[in-house]
């Protein structure tokens, strides 16, 4: 499935491994939470896991050091739980790659980035309807936001008071 980030579309070097599928010896794999230890025991290759919309971010905290990626899944673009899950994962200290996987649309891309996601994994069907140019356009459609504490360069609230910011920083 295509990946999309600030620079555009890419191929995916990560493989989703289903629970009934054998783990490849090498390569980067995304496994369910129950198979993290098994995947880490391989000779090489990075390990990621999935967090569903009902998932508990706290349960992943003990694995943060081992996980290079967490894929937060979106069943529907209208189900916004993934945005809060991403903010929680970042607040809990996860510094690896954060992926939004499933049905997200290009108009949501700036929100995904602001909530701490690094990229999105979208379906080939959606990539056809919303090609790379749309995502690149969406990424810069709204360059400003008010909210503080988000994963973006600055907030309007801060931009208005550069001097005060410098003093308290």
């Amino acid at each position: 499935m295509p990946l999309v980030d600030d620079r555009g579309f890419h191929g995916d070097r990560w493989r989703h491994i289903a629970d009934d599928e054998a783990l490849p010896e090498t390569g980067d794999v995304i496994v369910s939470q129950g198979r993290i230890a098994e995947a880490l025991a391989r000779p090489c290759g990075r390990v990621g896991t999935e967090l569903g919309p009902d998932g508990d971010p706290e349960a992943l905290v003990p694995h943060f050091g081992d996980l290079a990626l967490i894929a937060v899944t979106f069943r529907s673009f209208a189900d916004g739980r993934g945005f809060s899950l991403a903010r929680r994962l970042r607040a809990l200290g996860f510094t690896g790659e954060l992926r939004a996987a499933g049905h997200v649309i290009c108009d949501q891309y700036p929100y995904l980035r602001a909530c701490g996601f690094d990229h999105a994994e979208i379906s080939t069907d959606l990539a056809k309807r919303q090609p790379e140019a749309y995502w690149l356009q969406a990424a810069k459609s709204i360059t400003l936001g008010y909210q503080r504490g988000m994963a973006r360069s600055t907030s309007i609230f801060d931009g208005r008071h550069p001097a005060e910011r410098r003093l308290t920083a």
Binding site: F77, A78, D79, G80, R81, F83, S84, L85, R87, R88, A91, I105, D107, Q108, P110, Y111, L112, A114, C115, R129, Q130, Y134, Q137, S141, I142, T143, L144, G145, Y146, Q147, R148, G149, M150, I156, F157, D158, G159, R160, H161, E164, R165, T168
Partner: protein
């Protein structure tokens, strides 16, 4: 009032450009209707029975005369020369074309307005007391906080795809004119023991098909921590609010199912884990916004205006209007004026573009160029010198804007109903019109006293029927419209949801049935007792009996 700075301006312009692109992609098919729907809704664009409907945000109901004139221009250029003011202090245009909507949004941006989040499963336009900043009974002006909430909630990256819509109301006065207890979150300004301002935070109120009165989440949140506290509350709701059933997706259901104790525990845990300095706007930003709401420079006016007194004593129509439509003002020699959009037999909340321009002119001549929209679907001129009231009244009267009925039985709240709305099950407007005509006699209206009739054309309760002293709910069965009557509701301090009185009535029976309720009240009331008080004293059954008594 608050004026956009370069950041606000750029933000809104970018949003317009973005929506223009979304409309183009919808027209080209790159966006499916399913995908376009939440995007257009978050720009206030609905698809109604006959056309698109655009709902424009009027943050906390505040408008300048300049903005009001632009609303009139939009009504003339892209609609049919009128607009409808709503119970959420917004204005709706009923006939725009999809292709024109980006241009309308551009015209709104020209006067520092937008339609962001007037619909959709996001934080909606924040509503407040129409007399905020001028009411004599106010603890502190809630508008700076309302403006802060407008900015904070605008395109919030985390909270734009909530389980369901989310409405916040805020009041700075102990006399709640903002219906805070029937909102997803209600904020009531209070002070702590040391006199610091903060808010009582109430959660889980709402109307719709499951009306509930909000419960207290925290009795005091310091103003500086309010944004963080709301983020914590919203996060718990976003993660745990129900998404399996649209009708159970509001926060009130989550609060109800978890219980307020457990919900509070989760919010407090989330709040405790937050990095407050990282999330909270800087005190300098609070100060900047507060400065925008510095009161106008009031003249030192005498307590008594001879001009007013003369008009009051010689023109009975003026005296009646002054008795009914004025509010005490904190500054001596000034009054808050309600301009009723409920002429006898009219459509509640509708104003023509000419009326909008006259209201703008009136605000410029008599009221510092400021206007407010009240959730009762009226317009307020918040700061009028008492000395100017006779001249203002003449100006309003010439435009049919002098109806003296604020808070009386013909000051009816009604949603657009089946005449416009695709969700409606029955018409609301003709019911409001027929009740208004039946009780047209002003002497009788004044004898009846405060009585709030509220009419919704479906279970979604946009017409606030649950909190009407008399509520009317329009339903449909086998192609026949019928109307259920609820009794005893109120959105104010002692908020209560009205109780259904029994079997529905046909449209033509409704005015008579209300007449029977009113007659019963007039026969039974004690000295100085309002309809609501008499209802509470005598109980539901007494009024139910009157309602269904053979005519």
């Amino acid at each position: 009032m608050y004026r956009y700075d370069d950041f606000d301006e750029r933000f809104v312009r970018e949003r317009v450009a973005q929506f223009r692109g979304q409309v183009e992609r919808r027209l080209s098919g790159a966006l499916t209707e399913d995908e376009f729907k939440p995007l257009r809704l978050m720009n206030g664009l609905y698809l109604q029975l006959h056309a698109y409907m655009l709902r424009v945000a009027i943050p906390y109901g505040m408008l300048s005369s300049h903005q009001m004139r632009q609303l009139a221009m939009i009504a003339d250029r892209w609609d049919r020369g009128y607009g409808h003011f709503t119970t959420r202090q917004n204005i709706q245009y009923n006939w725009p074309q999809l292709k024109d909507v980006p241009d309308i949004l551009e015209a709104l941006a020209d006067v520092e307005m937008h339609a962001i989040q007037t619909s959709g499963n996001c934080i909606r336009n924040v509503t407040s007391d129409p007399f905020a900043g001028v009411a004599a009974d106010e603890i502190e002006d809630p508008r700076p906080t309302a403006e802060m909430l407008r900015q904070w909630s605008s395109l919030h990256p985390e909270f734009s795809f909530l389980p369901r819509k989310f409405k916040i109301a805020i009041t700075g006065s102990p006399n709640d004119r903002a219906a805070t207890r029937v909102h997803d979150i209600g904020l009531r300004m209070v002070r702590d023991a040391d006199g610091n301002p903060g808010f009582e935070v109430m959660v889980g109120g709402g109307q719709g098909r499951t009306p509930m009165i909000a419960k207290v989440l925290r009795d005091f949140v310091p103003k500086q921590q309010l944004i963080a506290y709301l983020e914590a509350t919203m996060r718990v709701y976003n993660l745990h609010g129900r998404r399996d059933n649209k009708f159970k997706a509001r926060i009130k259901i989550l609060v109800h199912e978890l219980g307020i104790e457990e919900f509070t525990r989760q919010v407090e845990a989330e709040f405790a884990a937050m990095d407050l300095p990282a999330v909270s706007p800087d005190p300098a930003e609070w100060a900047r916004i507060e400065e925008a709401f510095t009161p106008p420079t009031y003249a030192a006016l005498p307590e008594v205006s001879p001009l007013f007194v003369r008009a009051y004593e010689t023109i009975p129509e003026f005296a009646a209007w002054a008795d009914i439509n004025l509010m005490p003002h904190k500054a001596q020699g000034y009054a808050g004026v309600t301009v009723s959009l409920k002429p006898i037999g009219g459509i509640p909340g509708d104003a023509t573009s000419d009326q909008m321009r006259i209201l703008a002119d009136a605000a410029d001549r008599f009221g510092f160029g400021q206007l407010r929209v009240a959730h009762e679907q009226n317009i307020v001129l918040p700061d009028v010198p008492v000395n100017d009231l006779p001249a203002l009244w003449r100006m309003l009267a010439a435009a049919g804007l002098d109806t003296p009925n604020r808070g009386l039985i013909t000051d009816i709240i009604a949603c657009p109903g089946l005449d416009y709305c695709s969700l409606a099950t029955a018409r609301s407007i003709p019911i409001a019109q027929s009740i208004s005509e039946r009780f047209a006699d002003l002497k009788r209206q004044r004898e009846i006293g405060p009585l709030a009739i509220k009419i919704s054309g479906c279970i979604n309760a946009c017409g606030h029927h649950h909190v009407g002293h008399i509520g009317v709910l329009g339903l449909e069965k086998h192609g026949q419209e019928y109307y259920q009557i609820t009794l005893g509701g109120t959105p104010e301090g002692d908020a209560a949801v009205g109780v259904n009185a029994g079997p529905g009535l046909a449209a033509e029976q409704v005015p008579e049935a209300i007449e029977r309720l009113v007659d019963h009240y007039l026969n039974e009331r004690l000295d100085g007792e309002t309809f609501l008080k008499t209802y509470r004293r005598l109980g539901h059954d007494a009024f139910k009996g009157a309602l269904y008594a053979a005519g």
